[in-house]
Subunit: 296 residues, 2 copies
């Protein structure tokens, strides 16, 4: 059983290698075992020896918690967290990271950095992407953008900390985020204004917030909002999200753009809206707000 | 061979699980194979079926490049990147991430976020840490600090981008960093001043930069600096690093603190210094600068 034991001990080592290497490693494990069981061709104990001093090319990271969010799916999420201050989320830490001691002192910070994984994005990446800010026409290097289609799929968001709840594990109440429901979070760090607020920094093709469109509500939509306990905050969230014009870039300049109807999911509702252009000025009109029939 | 093939296909899935689960998975693989080879107890094909829709608990991340730095080892590195603007580094991207297209447009940004791994820190973490800013006495939750001893060992640094060199792969020239030589980098993102410069944010126990001490140089140290081509920038780097008082917190208040000699490695030299207290005011005195005899 020496070979089996060696492999079990080597599993931790295998985990810090790249996926390709690990796959290779598993193949080797299988080959070794098959040989050991007398069903393969020649194999010696050397085949079963995975050395742990091999340079580790990759890192295995475990989420410390998950996001529950006002955004059930990706469509409509503003492209930076500060753009929709009404967006609420909770981050619930998962064992063994849910020790209230781990967040002691956190409430003294107004803002936090969350490092997370764009878990709904494909792992495939390309060197060039089309930032929505440039109308989807110009291509930029993926590392010169905040695109979700990036190597390692890491996201970084500056969010407002509203409350730290340690009554049952750890739940952080957040505001002004841009995270889809279920997002796995890898790290929390406090924001350090003296080190990280650089208002004079040059910000390339995104030197200022994107333009914000006016948003109007139909009488039907207003009636729905008035009937809800969270009507005021939902109205504000809808306004902030639609003001960013969540339509795909290639729809915005289309001839028939004002004839299309769109829907965006926020909290438990579908918000149905369409663009209006009056005297060359775009605005967004909320036609109706209906409770979503199925989970996103 | 169906079982073998299933496992090979399942290897990618196994890699996105946590280490514990992966170890468990490997055990299961071994048990399945042993059974399949007729050497274990009862096993059915079900034992060999690792479904890919299982919740993925971990992520495997591959460094996109490595840092070459003015800081050969950890001791002395300022605790935020902006504190030593003279500190230089290069980030060289590694294949397949070294495509010049991936950084197209990056030069339009003055500052970048680097997400990296504190690869010299232990993987073990504790919920409470002692921030050096508080003299090493008070304990704070690890997520309320920027401590390197954290789950997933992720670091986040705001650095100044000096130059993008794409003549042979991709090398970024950086300034004002806090990264030890060899640091593996997982992501590069442009700094967005309009979204990320929040000068009014409340920054808890670290509301302002740490105090900065005066630094003096002996005649011998000045002679060494004058003989070097990089003398001016090295002098500035030494000044900025020692001004932060890199001594361990428990040395600072010790009775005999001024009798101790210290050394810090910067570029290829050992900087030998000691603290001086005159009329109750601390300063740092550089006694000598010698070329380091061995790699850090």
């Amino acid at each position: 059983m020496a070979c089996l034991a060696d492999h079990a001990a080597g599993a931790q080592t295998a985990m810090v290698r790249g996926t390709a290497q690990a796959t290779q490693g598993l193949y080797a494990t299988l080959a070794c075992l098959a040989a050991w069981a007398g069903i393969g061709h020649n194999a010696t104990m050397t085949d079963c020896d995975f050395s742990s001093d091999e340079a580790s090319n990759a890192f295995t990271l475990t989420p410390i918690g998950r996001i529950a969010s006002d955004y059930p799916d990706k469509f409509g999420i503003p492209r930076q967290p500060g753009l929709a201050s009404a967006a609420r989320a909770t981050l619930t830490l998962t064992p063994p990271f849910d020790d209230p001691l781990a967040v002691r002192g956190l409430e003294a910070f107004s803002h936090l950095w969350l490092t997370f994984v764009f878990h709904q994005s494909p792992t495939r990446w390309t060197p060039l992407v089309r930032p929505p800010r440039l109308g989807g026409n110009a291509k930029h290097g993926v590392f010169a953008t905040r695109s979700t289609h990036r190597p390692n799929r890491l996201g970084l968001s500056l969010v407002e900390l509203v409350k730290v709840d340690t009554r049952d594990g750890v739940t952080l109440h957040l505001r002004g985020h841009d995270l889809v429901d279920g997002t796995p979070v890898l790290d929390i760090k406090p924001y350090l204004a003296w080190a990280e607020a650089l208002p004079e920094a040059r910000s390339g093709f995104a030197p200022a917030p994107p333009p914000s469109l006016p948003v109007t509500f139909s009488a039907a939509a207003e009636t729905r909002l008035l009937a809800r306990r969270d009507g005021d905050s939902l109205r504000e969230l809808i306004r902030q999200v639609l003001a960013q014009d969540p339509r795909p870039a290639y729809h915005k300049n289309a001839q028939n753009s004002s004839e299309r109807r769109y829907g965006v999911r926020l909290r438990d509702v579908d918000v149905r809206f369409y663009p209006i252009t009056t005297n060359g000025i775009d605005s967004m009109h909320v036609e109706d707000i209906v409770v979503a029939s199925s989970p996103a």
